[in-house]
């Protein structure tokens, strides 16, 4: 286990992002403690992916500042890795070479270890196209973790997976997060996923933070639990913009 301060301390102050006349982010303030797991939820188009791109350094904020460990971020940060919604494996590289991307030759054992951690070391020599969707995302996770990032950004990485594979991946990510102590920022539209995995659930609405709820359930979390289901429903209602007392038409059945 890494020291508790291994993960990035992230501070976002008054960040705005405009694309032409369109204002996507309207002043975001968010602080994420080292090693914290924060889930960002919101309807599609609310700006959550834009925020992630700013944190990764793929785009620059129009106003405001983003600090990693009290240092102002400039450009791409080598401590940050992203896991994308689609696995984005290079089809012309074998699985192990995909995991080792951007690493030096002598660091190959690190890539092998990462592949072992996601349980795919026996597929190391395969081409990516023979893997299933879930396996591809596991390779993408291994690739993200191989270089020991201090901040892992997860951009709806499990959205395209089937329900069982998704729960399996959630547990795998949670386990590796606990073992390695990186700071994790998960973007998802699945409230249940957010509550199951995160220390805190943040809701972005119209480019602003509209809700910030700590999740205090002990880990590993029991999804069948009544308190868990109630919290999921409460947050879901808030996302849908409904009053507390109206029946939750959209509430999903808990699994």
């Amino acid at each position: 286990m890494e020291s508790p301060t291994f993960g990035t301390h992230l501070q976002i102050n008054g960040v705005e992002k405009h694309f032409g006349n369109q204002q996507v982010l309207r002043g975001i303030d968010l602080e994420v403690q080292p090693g914290e797991f924060v889930a960002i939820i919101g309807r599609s188009g609310c700006g959550k992916s834009t925020l992630l791109r700013l944190i990764a350094g793929l785009d620059e904020p129009t106003a405001g500042e983003i600090k990693a460990n009290s240092e102002l971020m400039k450009g791409l940060n080598p401590e940050v890795r992203i896991m994308f919604q689609d696995a984005r494996l290079l089809p012309w590289k074998r699985v192990i070479q995909n995991v080792a991307i951007g690493m030096k030759k002598e660091d190959l054992p690190k890539a092998e270890l990462a592949l072992k951690q996601v349980g795919l070391i026996d597929r190391a020599k395969e081409w990516p196209h023979v893997l299933s969707g879930g396996q591809k995302q596991r390779v993408a996770l291994a690739r993200a973790l191989a270089s020991k990032p201090r901040l892992l950004l997860l951009d709806e990485p499990l959205g395209a997976l089937d329900a069982l594979t998704r729960i399996e991946m959630q547990r795998l990510i949670e386990r590796l997060w606990k073992e390695q102590g990186f700071t994790a920022l998960l973007i998802t539209h699945d409230v249940e996923e957010a509550v199951a995995m995160a220390d805190r659930v943040v809701l972005i609405e119209d480019g602003k933070i509209a809700m910030d709820t700590p999740i205090k359930f002990p880990r590993p979390r029991q999804r069948g639990n009544a308190a868990f289901a109630a919290l999921v429903e409460k947050i879901l209602r808030r996302v849908m913009g409904e009053e507390e007392n109206t029946p939750a038409v959209y509430a999903r059945q808990s699994t």
Binding site: A56, L58, D86, L90, P91, W92, I101
Partner: protein
């Protein structure tokens, strides 16, 4: 069971050759019976004899070698220029703005239309043929390289940047492999143009090479030699295409679309 499987495979291999062999047999019969004039088409056996004769005198080999040399040198020069222009125009928008319009204008001139000018410039020497071949293969390689670079998945490039790949590494590990299928399509197309150009160039103005051999034979009504030359071009076309296919299989073995060719 194993034996029948083997013979099945042999049958499968033979089927494509049945039709050409049948045509040859009918042709031989028609010619030898005098139904088909040898002034129009020589007897297949005469073509073989002419081939044997030319091999024995060493003439065939000499012409072959010179044609090959022209084809390869022209292809390498034109191909390199096309690849280079395609790469820089694909990678740097500023280069694209400067060069692309001009290249597109030149591209639309049929390169064979320049033969009179080329003869004025170079006479009927080697440069003329090499120049024409180079001009012919340049554009298909340029266009396909440019298209290949532009159609590389932006998501993969973004991923590469996040995972620490900068300029040269990003080009080598992401952009070039992504563009390669398209570049190889250009190569294959250019190989066809290469032979076409060479045939025309050698037929119109040359004192050696297979095209010259064919034209020379026409003067003396040696239809068997003319036909032999044509068959040789067909053979080389097929060899060039097989080489391109082999290259695709070798370079694109990661791509499921190319694995079972």
């Amino acid at each position: 069971m194993k034996k029948s499987l083997f013979s099945d495979q042999v049958k499968k291999q033979l089927i494509p050759w049945l039709l050409p062999i049948l045509i040859l047999i009918i042709w031989q019969l028609l010619s030898s019976k005098g139904i088909l004039s040898t002034k129009i088409l020589p007897v297949p056996s005469d073509v073989v004899m002419a081939g044997v004769e030319l091999i024995r005198s060493g003439e065939l080999f000499q012409h072959l070698l010179i044609s090959f040399k022209r084809a390869i040198i022209g292809f390498l020069i034109g191909g390199s220029i096309g690849l280079f222009l395609g790469l820089i125009n694909g990678l740097f928008p500023i280069a694209d703005r400067i060069f692309d319009t001009t290249i597109q204008m030149v591209r639309n001139i049929p390169h064979l239309a320049m033969i009179p000018l080329v003869i004025l410039w170079f006479g009927i020497g080697e440069e003329a043929k090499v120049f024409l071949v180079a001009a012919g293969v340049l554009f298909p390689i340029y266009v396909n390289t440019l298209h290949g670079i532009r159609s590389v998945d932006q998501g993969l490039i973004e991923m590469g940047r996040v995972y620490g790949l900068r300029s040269w590494l990003l080009f080598w590990q992401v952009v070039l492999p992504g563009a390669l299928p398209s570049i190889l399509v250009g190569v294959r197309y250019a190989l066809g143009i290469m032979w076409l150009t060479l045939i025309v160039a050698e037929t119109i103005s040359a004192d050696s090479g297979i095209g010259y051999m064919a034209m020379n034979a026409r003067e003396f009504m040696q239809t068997d030699v003319v036909l032999l030359s044509i068959l040789l071009y067909a053979l080389f076309g097929k060899i060039a295409d097989s080489m391109a296919k082999w290259l695709e299989r070798k370079c694109l073995n990661w791509n499921p679309n190319y694995q079972n060719l």
